[in-house]
């Protein structure tokens, strides 16, 4: 299984890093990235990380609890095949205060 972050939808909540710090980290821009061993990979689908053995459940936990729905898994696990289309970026009142791509500061989204 491979994993990458679709940063357009990342809220910077840090939940993924809490659940599986061997695979996820929060960059200086406040958005999530994936690790491959000690290396932090650039964002985007061209830099998907291979999920190390023994981390699969945790990576799925992170993907299924992510408030932005931005953790992409390939191939898509069974349980996510109803969620092939990424959810729209949130515009709700209230909700998360987080960083978005291209922004230097936290904004209300």
């Amino acid at each position: 299984m491979r994993v990458w972050i679709d940063q357009a939808y990342c809220t910077g909540s840090g939940l993924c890093e809490l659940i599986e710090p061997r695979v996820f980290t929060i960059g200086d821009d406040g958005l999530a990235r994936v690790r491959q061993g000690a290396d932090v990979l650039p964002p985007g689908p061209d830099n998907a990380a291979r999920v190390p053995a023994g981390c699969e459940d945790e990576v799925r936990d992170a993907s299924e609890s992510c408030p932005g729905g931005c953790i992409r898994l390939e191939p898509l696990p069974l349980s996510r095949t109803y969620a092939c289309v990424p959810p729209p970026a949130r515009q709700a009142r209230g909700g998360l205060t987080g960083a978005v791509r291209g922004s230097e500061k936290a904004v209300e989204i």
Binding site: L15, L18, I19, E64, S65, S79, Y82, A83, V85
Partner: protein, 445 residues
């Protein structure tokens, strides 16, 4: 979070829906055996998974579970007469046996019709105070989940049912949610003389005020000071799949004992049943329809205590065990007691009343696209994954997960205890993976 589409798949249970099709591939506890107490007693109407049925006990004591409406012209068989080894429709007198055989058609003399047509009838098993039915395709029944209390006598079981006006997933997720216990149920722990005395800025000012409430594993207001040896409200959740579904541990620091951990192990048996640490039984959540469910508690009690335990400490104006009183009304919240530091949540009646109040407060069907999960919710994430996996497996022509291959259902249990920080919690529930325990060495005489 789930997308709106995933949420719909998870929540809707009617015939032909993805989840409804999955749930029909498991044995489903549909009614209380106490509601059919004797041969030829009045029949009962049972709504489960969005369909209506009639349940009756025939002259021989055998329980039948049939489509509710007479297959002639659709009158309800719940109005019918239970007599001479069958149930007879009042409208034109058609009579059915427990297996759906049409025994008599008084307004049709020729026997050919009743020999060729059969009424919808479903397999029934009686176990642990409940009538379990199988609503899936004939011949696909999985092994029956014969839990440890399946063969208990009626007076050794406290079976109680709370009918709630909300979608079943709101209640089911609550049954595997350890991190709410020492918060929402702070009053319950305080009544037992255990656990933390505060949540955030709330502190108990003196003793709690609901001293008659039913408490887990005891009678009304029983003191159990050792039951919750922790003030840690952010448990670490570790989840592991099992042949029957999954089990998880909620791991908390132990107050004053740094080398120990307080572990509550919950076993979840697909797709309805949670064995909860600290309670001698299980909570079973069954969808009646998309907007109604039953939360059924089945607890083993000392012989003779089964009936006496049922009704203590709960206002009958809110809920009661009698058939006409099982639908819970929204309980009154005592804001005065909350303000005076006598109660955190303000609901009298113990855990189930507190749970029902908050679970129904999310509305008829909560939209999980609006939620924000945290690591304390990892068991809930796993529950949804197993259910979603099952939907896809069934669509691919395979069995759903958690049928319990190689597993002895009678040995599924829960745990709640202090162990050494380095000890594996799985050691507390050795039968859950279906592997044999290490054989014991013979004891030298």
């Amino acid at each position: 979070m789930l997308t709106a589409e995933e949420n719909e798949v998870l929540c809707r249970v009617g015939p032909g829906t993805p989840m409804g099709s999955v749930l029909r591939r498991y044995w489903t506890p549909a009614f209380q055996l106490g509601d059919l107490p004797a041969p030829d007693c009045p029949p009962i109407r049972v709504t489960v998974l969005g369909e209506s049925f009639v349940a009756f006990r025939d002259t021989n004591g055998t329980v039948g579970f049939l489509d509710e409406l007479c297959c002639h012209r659709g009158a309800s068989l719940t109005l019918g007469r239970v007599e001479d080894c069958g149930i007879r429709c009042l409208y034109h007198g058609w009579k059915y046996a427990v297996d759906g055989t049409i025994m008599e058609t008084p307004n049709l003399a020729t026997p050919t019709f009743r020999e060729r047509v059969k009424h919808g009838a479903y397999p029934v098993r009686e176990a642990g105070g409940l009538g379990w039915v199988y609503l899936g395709p004939p011949g696909t029944e999985p092994p029956f989940p014969g839990f440890s209390w399946a063969t208990a006598e009626p007076d050794e079981l406290a079976v109680s049912e709370m009918i709630m006006d909300c979608n079943w997933m709101q209640v089911l997720e609550g049954s595997i949610d350890s991190s709410h216990v020492a918060i929402l149920h702070l009053d319950t722990l305080a009544t037992m003389g255990s656990g933390p005395r505060s949540v955030g800025s709330f502190d108990f000012a003196g003793e709690p005020w609901d001293l008659d409430m039913p408490v887990p594993g005891g009678g009304g207001g029983a003191r159990r000071p050792g039951v919750w040896p922790s003030e840690d409200n952010a448990p670490r959740i570790e989840v592991e799949n099992t042949p029957f579904g999954f089990h998880y541990a909620a791991i908390r620091d132990v107050t004053g004992e740094p080398g120990k951990k307080f572990v509550r192990v919950t076993a979840f048996v697909m797709p309805y049943t949670a064995f909860i640490g600290g309670a001698p039984g299980a909570v079973i959540v069954v969808p009646r329809d998309d907007y109604t469910c039953s939360s059924i508690g089945v607890f083993k009690v000392p012989k003779g205590a089964g009936l006496a335990r049922r009704a203590t400490g709960v206002d009958p104006a809110v809920w009661g065990p009698e058939p006409a009183n099982r639908r819970i009304r929204r309980p009154r919240q005592d804001r005065e007691a909350m303000a005076e530091g006598k109660s955190f949540a303000g609901f009298r009646g113990g855990n189930r009343i507190q749970d029902a109040a908050v679970q129904m407060s999310s509305g008829q069907m909560y939209d999980r696209a609006k939620e924000h999960l945290v690591p304390a919710d990892l068991a809930i994430i796993r529950l949804r994954r197993l259910l979603a996996d099952s939907v896809r497996l069934l669509e691919a022509g395979q069995d759903p997960v958690g049928h319990g291959d190689g597993c002895d259902f009678s040995r599924i249990t829960a745990a709640s205890q202090i162990i050494d920080a380095g000890q594996r919690w799985q050691d507390l529930v050795p039968a859950h993976q279906g592997t044999p325990e290490p054989s014991r060495k013979p004891v030298a005489s």
